[in-house]
Symmetry: C2
């Protein structure tokens, strides 16, 4: 499989979350616009050219997300800015215990309703970037629907922690779920393989009751790692979706070998599922030098991960960028994965 293009647009660089909360301390947010530059460098290194996504409207997004949530994302910042003395970005405070009570009118409370955590501030440009990030995902899916064997969308902000109606972990719109739903205009079944350092809890929740989408995630053990509440091996799907969710929590600091072992098992299950198409939620933060320091994958490890995924299934594939944070090797790790996936040398 060979990919000529990386789908990306400058709109995705406008969102600039300044901080997030780590153990009660406000810290510099690593989900920065510069990530796009670093990843574009890697994409160029892998021989790709930039292609701009089209505007696909809200249709493809509303296949995954609730209308009320989309309204919140689009208008929350403006409504928040009317509050005297409020922070520069929409920030959650109080969270509902159950989600079936009254929906509050206050944007402060809606922020708690629609956010799992304190890492998704909404500023003036957030909606624009999230929207174009989703459209990049749709564009890559379109390319595959039009006949490309594979396509890569450099989605930023990332998406896999966002559920149908909640932001979380730097994610607002679930780009890989949106790409999946778009592929299902043509394909009856899709597998999503998430190799991000963090469990793809948003994606899992969106498809948890469905048997036509197999969701598989390999990630650092959530017992003491974000997202904490999800990503356990015991979560295997529910109802019609029972057996169609698979989690591989790895001990902190796991290296290439442990990751590739889990990957082989993941790919076995995916082959057994025999999907019509594949979506890769490509986080690069499992890297040994990533600021989150959760796992210890090497650059060669990402190449090998690419080789095994690319070699396992000969089906249309959409690759969606998820996490991976500023470090010298971020671009190289993308290039390593892509070249592996295309079965070329790094």
């Amino acid at each position: 499989m060979s990919m000529k293009c990386v789908v990306s647009t400058e709109h995705q660089q406008k969102h600039y979350p300044e901080s997030f909360l780590v153990n009660g301390i406000t810290q510099d947010n690593p989900e920065k616009p510069v990530r796009v530059d670093m990843l574009l460098d890697g994409a160029k290194k892998a021989g790709m050219e930039i292609i701009e996504p089209l505007n696909y409207g809200l249709g493809p997004i509303l296949r995954i997300h609730d209308e009320r949530y989309i309204d919140f994302l689009e208008y929350a910042y403006k409504r928040w800015s009317y509050i005297e003395g409020a922070a520069d970005a929409v920030t959650p405070n109080i969270h509902p215990v159950e989600r079936n009570g009254e929906y509050p009118a206050s944007v402060v409370a809606q922020a708690g309703f629609h956010m799992t955590d304190a890492s998704c501030p909404i500023s003036t440009d957030t909606w624009e970037s999230a929207l174009w990030s989703a459209w990049s995902a749709v564009h890559a899916a379109e390319m595959v629907l039009d006949g490309d064997k594979a396509a890569y969308a450099l989605c930023r902000p990332p998406g896999h922690h966002a559920s149908a109606d909640m932001a979380g972990g730097f994610c607002y719109l679930n780009n890989n779920a949106i790409a999946t739903a778009h592929l299902m205009k043509k394909y009856k079944s899709v597998a999503i393989l998430d190799v991000d350092l963090h469990h793809g809890n948003g994606t899992q929740s969106i498809f948890y009751h469905r048997s036509d989408v197999l969701t598989v995630s390999i990630h650092a053990d959530p017992r003491r790692f974000y997202p904490f509440f999800w990503g356990y091996a015991s979560e295997t799907g529910d109802g019609a979706g029972a057996g169609y969710n698979l989690n591989f929590p790895l001990p902190r600091g796991s290296n290439d070998e442990a990751f590739l072992d889990a990957l082989d098992s993941a790919l076995e299950r995916i082959k057994e599922f025999s999907p019509n198409a594949l979506v890769i939620a490509l986080g690069l933060d499992a890297f040994e030098g990533d600021p989150f320091a959760g796992l210890a994958i090497t650059t060669n490890g990402f190449h090998e991960i690419g080789i095994r995924i690319g070699g396992a299934l000969d089906i249309p594939t959409v690759i969606i960028q998820e996490g991976g944070y500023p470090c010298n090797e971020l671009g190289s790790n993308l290039a390593a994965f892509i070249s592996g996936f295309e079965n070329r040398l790094i």
Copy 2:
């Protein structure tokens, strides 16, 4: 009815939460130790003497709260202090969407599991103060069980936002629910009347499925006011508890007249319920000069509220202090309520 004592202890003044979150901005926390001094001044003005509560152990607390939550409150600060570079107080970040999944091992995640919002930091002295606050409530209940017609516990920190397993809104242990459970050693049915500015969501949730405890709350409309997700008139109880919860949300800025109208309706329902005992969750933050500025009750209004409650039912009554924040009249408002309740002049 006449009360000679205010139940209180210096242990309750040790907890010192420094900040809370208002519209995304960290602000000075008004739930300060000095509240106790101000309220004691008021109690003295009403002719009361201080009596120290006994240590009642965890028994009376575990009638209301989950053991896992109590373990969390007791040990969270110590566990948190092992995290390098963490904040000075346990602070929530990520919250579960549902509460039936895996219980995470990390204290960071447990904080999100056990807190609805960012206003309940746990520091070195929090558990001690919360425990003695609950014991003050138990002590007042004991006095009533021993024959006093009424007793007042100056509980601090407050309790009515705390549910069986969650802290929220400055509250850790639900003192009025604990007093209620203690009264039920002898009495078959108890009514709880909450006149705090904020809806008593913790208390409501604890008794929501029970018909032997009637919960009634008069408060500022939660559509745009804390606790946002609870306190609507539509919440009337569930299962066996259907019809045994009653909320009176009042428009922001409502004055004495509107409050007293709601109070008359509340007391009618309580008389109809015909409980063996009454618990008053006495917030004084509905005051026109309270920093939260939600309602506009006057000092005379609190006196009249006391008169109507004291005159409505001739049953054993435990009065539990809830909110009411630093302002010149805080003590006077307590004295006004107490003297009204005892049917004396201010």
